[in-house]
């Protein structure tokens, strides 16, 4: 009952921080998709790029998030504002699942379908946009789903560098040893993650080619 009262009392602040959280996750996911899908296509079509691209994304993934935020602080334009910094870090983390799933999805297209397409005289672009991407779309989406869910969690840490988001409550609650405050951050974050997971999972199944 206490938590419920707390939520009612602070609903405006919770809403504001949730929106901030969504913004951080949304922009970084968008950037990761815009960068990651072309990189995934690149490494699927030209095997030379496969190792450097996936290797780099893998290494970024192993950097502890708090350390990454710290590393990026001195970067000129990025370090000047906490939200830029947080978005960049979240984008970097989201890259790996997007790149890897784009790669897997395109490589997973039945080779006979690709051969037939080439043999019929589709240009590289027609093959990519009309055959490979539509057939890989559900695999790519499941990568985006993983990226979003991970980002929702990671974005709470962005509050440590003052980027806002639901992490504000969590860090404040930790400092004040106040469980209600921690829950005010954790519960909406969990709801966000679950909603995104469910929504994207549904889309993934809808777009699954038979």
């Amino acid at each position: 009952m206490n938590v419920f009262h707390f939520f009612l009392q602070h609903h405006e602040e919770i809403l504001e921080l949730t929106l901030e959280h969504l913004w951080l996750v949304g922009i970084s996911t968008l950037l990761a998709v815009l960068i990651g899908i072309p990189l995934g296509i690149l490494s699927a079509h030209w095997p030379v790029w496969n190792k450097p691209v996936l290797g780099t994304a893998n290494i970024i993934q192993t950097i502890p998030s708090l350390a990454l935020f710290g590393f990026l602080l001195p970067v000129p334009w990025i370090g000047a504002r906490a939200d830029r910094l947080a978005i960049l870090a979240l984008t970097l983390y989201a890259l790996l699942p997007v790149i890897r799933n784009t790669y897997t999805g395109i490589r997973g297209v039945d080779p006979s379908v690709v051969e037939a397409g080439r043999g019929m005289g589709l240009t590289g672009r027609q093959l990519l946009f009309q055959v490979e991407l539509p057939l890989a779309v559900s695999v790519i989406l499941s990568g985006v789903r993983v990226a979003v869910v991970v980002s929702v969690g990671l974005a709470t840490i962005a509050a440590a560098i003052g980027a806002g988001g639901l992490g504000e409550f969590i860090f404040r609650g930790l400092a004040m040893v106040n469980n209600q405050l921690i829950l005010a951050g954790a519960i909406p974050a969990a709801v966000l993650a679950l909603t995104a997971d469910f929504g994207l999972g549904w889309l993934e199944r809808r777009l699954q080619p038979r």
Partner: protein, 314 residues
Amino acid sequence: MKTEHQRAPPGHDDLAAQPCRLRYAGQARFDEEDDEDRLSGLIRDGYPRSFDSNMHPIPANAPVIEFRDVAYVLPNGQPLLRDLNLQVQRGETLVLLGRSGSGKTTTLKLVNRLLNPSGGQVWVNGAPNEETDVICLRRSIGYVIQDVGLFPHFTVERNIGLVPRIEGWPTDRIQLRVQELLQIVGLGREIASRYPYQLSGGQRQRVGVARALAADPSILLMDEPFGALDALTRDQLQREFLLLQERLDKTVVFVTHDLREALRLGSRIALMEAGQLVTVLPPQDFLRSTDPLAAAYVQAFGEGLNSVATRGSE
């Protein structure tokens, strides 16, 4: 003369463009005839085949496909084809026969440039292959493979109509063509709206053949098209292939390892072994051949072959 470099200019993907100018038969006379005449005209009319893919007229007696001292070597140095000299004449069904790894499929893929020769030249429709726009070359050649390779996210209708669509044919014209092709390969109209996963193996390969015929190519390349089918379906499709070939008069290159199929469908059989052409013979002569490899093939397939070999030099 177009080069590889020029093959995908901006707008090449524009569906309204007609990059290869693959004309549908009857295009010029579209308004003058009623539907029925146009349909039957499509089937026997041959005028796209008297032009190469750049719309230059081709002399009537020239070989449609010609291999001149062709070699193909893998990037790792392993030779797959050596000294291949072979001519395919207009309207014939040339069967490439040989065991796995003998170079049949490699030979086939050199025709539509899915592979490029390491040495020598392949000529198609009177022009050396490397000087033809590769996309237009492929669109002017039908290609059927064992695994069919239907696009699983397209309906049968879209699968068959894909090349006409990217060639910019009008929609009603494509629909007409799809219906016509379904009928040619013995499928009902209701199949058009189905997806490949809803079809049987035999139906899928029929759609594969229909798709290859869509833009009315003069050449058909078939890589073990009936290899994955059960014996009954295969027999039926072989029979229909012969009827179809009689009617459409395409130049066909057909890959198989099945001597029975080769004897039945081929007007000539090119026997291949270890990347080299052993001999080229009409079916009846093949049965009587003294070539050790040909004889070994005939022996391996046993009795009763004579009745299968329908064509030859009697």
